[in-house]
Symmetry: C2
Subunit: 440 residues, 2 copies
Amino acid sequence: MSSKIEPRTLKGFRDYPPALMLPREHLLEQARRVYRSYGFAPIDTPALEYAEILLGKGGEESDRIVYRFKDHGDRDVALRFDLTVPFARFAAMYIGKLGTPFKRYAMGPVWRGENTSTGRYREFWQCDFDTIGTTSNAADIETGLVIHDLMLALGFESFQIRINNREVLNGVLQELGILDKAVPILRSLDKLLKIGRDEVIAEMKTTAGITDEQGAAVLDITSMTGTNTEILAAVRERFPNCDAVLSGVAKLDELRQVFETNGIPASRYTFDLSICRGLDYYTGTIFETFLDALPKIGSVCSGGRYDNLASMYTNQSLPGVGASLGLDRLIAAMEQLALLPTTATPAPVFVVQFQSERLGDYQRVSRMLRAAGIGVEVYPEAKKVGQQLQYAEKRGFRIALIAGTEEFAKGVWKVKNLAKREEITVAESELVASVRGLLA
Amino acid sequence: MSSKIEPRTLKGFRDYPPALMLPREHLLEQARRVYRSYGFAPIDTPALEYAEILLGKGGEESDRIVYRFKDHGDRDVALRFDLTVPFARFAAMYIGKLGTPFKRYAMGPVWRGENTSTGRYREFWQCDFDTIGTTSNAADIETGLVIHDLMLALGFESFQIRINNREVLNGVLQELGILDKAVPILRSLDKLLKIGRDEVIAEMKTTAGITDEQGAAVLDITSMTGTNTEILAAVRERFPNCDAVLSGVAKLDELRQVFETNGIPASRYTFDLSICRGLDYYTGTIFETFLDALPKIGSVCSGGRYDNLASMYTNQSLPGVGASLGLDRLIAAMEQLALLPTTATPAPVFVVQFQSERLGDYQRVSRMLRAAGIGVEVYPEAKKVGQQLQYAEKRGFRIALIAGTEEFAKGVWKVKNLAKREEITVAESELVASVRGLLA
C-alpha cells in the first residue's frame, strides 16, 4: 500500500460542491444580467499584484491580513484583498484610453488572512459595480436603481435600501459646531443599529468629548422617522441656511423623484441619516441594503459616492459612485431562508441507459431536448433501471425517460415524473412538447 | 504634489478591459450552457491549498513553476496550477457523499510562474469538464459530443476533433515487440505534427533504440488516412488477434456509430492514431480539437480517459474521462480571425440626457426596454448632445434615444440608428417594438 496524502483544505477556505455552486452561479448570472442591462461592462484584473500597489495606503491592519510573498523573480507580491484597489490601479493606467464616464463591474475572489472564528472565510467573492469620471447625481440615483433591480433579480421581494448623503451629516455637525470631531462621532453613530441610542451617545461623549446635548441632537436628527418626504422636509426646515445640508437634501430629493417616476415602491427605500459607512472613503450618497426577513445579517449590498478613486496612482481626479454585492452573505441568507435549491444537477431530465446498444438513440433524443433548451443527462452504464432511477432521484432530476426494444419498435418513450411517480407513454414526435409541459 | 505609486501589473499578468472581458464572458457562458445541458454540475475549489496537496507527485518542473509561500500561520501553501489536482483532492474527500458517476465542470484562473517569452501568461483560465466513477465508453463518447457542441456554441463551424485510443497504440507497439519502449516512442510520436515523419523516426531511433523498420511501421500505422471506417477496418485487418487493438478499435467504432446517429458530420472528427498527449496520465480515448482556419495554434480542446484520478489521496479507484477548453488560446484565435466584438459596451441602446430635469423619464423608458431584455445606458450628465453621441459611437452603442420638451409634449422619442446615421420619430408606446426591430 502506497502512502497517501491526506486530502484537506486550508483553514478558512472551502470547496463549493454543486449544491453551493449552483446558487452562486445563479446569483452571479443575475448580477451580470442586471449590471449589463444598465451598460456596466465587465473588467478583470490579476489576482496577484505588486505588494506596493495593493498596500500603498494600507496600515497595519491590511499588512496583517494580506497574503504577501516573494515570487520566483524575488518580486514583492500580494494577493488582492478587494476589487477596489486593483480597479483604482486599472483606472489610473487606462482611463485616458477608455474615456469617461466609465461604468464597470467586476466579480471574483479576494483573499484575506483574517480571523475565521466569526464564520468568515479567507477566500470570498466580491461583486462590484461603479461609475467613474462623473460627479453627476444621476449616477448616484442609477446606483440605487441597480441595487433595487439586483435584489429583485436575486429573488428578494422584501428588502429596504437605506440611503444617506454625507453632505447632510457633515452639514449637521457643522451647524452643531462639532464638525472637527466628525471622525469619532460618525464612528460611534455607525454602531447605532448594533448598540442603540444611549450607548452611542455615551461613546460619543468619551471618544469625541461632546456634551450630552450635542450627542442627543445628533441622534435626534439622524434617527428621524417618517416618510421619505417628511424626513427631507424636517431636515430642510431645521437647517434652512446650511449649504451642505441643503445640497445633500436636494440630491436625496432628486433620487426620491426619479425612484417615484420609475415606480419603485416607497417601502423599498428609506432615507436613514445615521448610516455613514466607510468613514474615510465615501463623501456623498451612501447605500446599505437590508433583507426584511433577516435584518440582523447586516447589509447585503452597500456602497456610495467617493471623491477620488485613484489618487494613489495618478493626479487625474476620478470621482465615482458604486456598490458591492455581498455574495457570501446572500448565499448564507438564502440558506437560512431555505431559498437554496435542493437539486445537485443543472439538468432536469434523466435518460435511463436501458440497452447499451441503443446509446446512439439515447443521445439523439437528449440532443433534441437540448436543442429545445432542456438539459438532459444520459446514465453512462446499462445498470438495473431501479439503480439508475435511485441515482436520478438522489440528484434531484425531475423527469426520467425510458425506452427499450418495445418502445423503439413503436416509436414511443416512457416519461416518468420522478416527484409524482407517475408515468406516461409519449410518441417520440411529441416528446419535446410533453417534457416541456411537465417542467413548466 | 504627493508622490504617486507607479500603476503597473506584474510581468506575465494582464488586465482584461471590456473589449477582452466581453468575449471571455461570452465563451464561459456558452461553455457553461453546454456543460449543463449534459448534466455536468459546477464545482469550485480554493485558489490556495497546502503545497503538499498540489505538489504531491510534482517533480522539479512543477516545483519550479508553482507560486508557493508561507502563510500567516506559517503553513506551506501554494496557488493551484491547474484544476485537475484540486479536483482529485475534492473527489477524494466527497465522492462517498456525492456518489458516482459524478459529472462536474470547473472554470477559473490558475497560476504558473513560467517563462512568458512565448506569449504565455502566468495567470490564465481553465475550463474543464469530467465524468468520474465509470469506465463505460458511453462517457467517452459523450465527452466527444460535448466537445462538438461546445465548438459550435462558441461560434466555430469548421473544426476537427482528432480522436485516438491508447489501447490501439499500446497494442500496436506490443505487436511490433517494442511496448517496453513505449514512453520514448510516444514522446517522439507526439511531435509528428510539429517536426514531421522523418524527424520523428530519427528521434525514435536515438531515444528508444528501435530500428528504422520499426519506426517506419509505427508511423505507417499511426499516419493512416482514409475515412474513419476505413482506418478502423485497416487496423483491425492488420492486427486481427491483438486484444488491445481490437478493444480500442471497438470503442472508437462505437463512438463513430453514436456520432453518426446524432448527425455529427464526418468532416468534424477524424481517428488519428498518432495523438497520444499526456503520456503518463491518459489510458484510453484521447481527444484533440483543431480549428480548420488556424491549425497551427494547436489543440483548443483536449482530454481523454484516465484510470485513476485521485490515487495520491485515496485508495478508492476513480476512473474517468474529461477534457479542457483552452480559453486563452481560443480568445487569441478569435482575435486572429477578427471574430472579437468591436464594442466595449454590453448594452446596445444609449439614452441621451438632454434635459437633466427629465432624468426620471430617461430612466423610466430605459426601464421599459430593460424589462424587454434590452440593455440601456443613460448618460449621467446633460452635456451637449454632440458630445454624448460621440461617446456613444466610440463605445459601440447601436441606437441612441433622444427626447426633450417637444418630444415629451407629443409623447414621442427620436430613435437614432448610430451606424446608419438615420433617425426616426416613434410614439413611446411603440418604442420597445421599434428598438427591437432595429436591433434584430
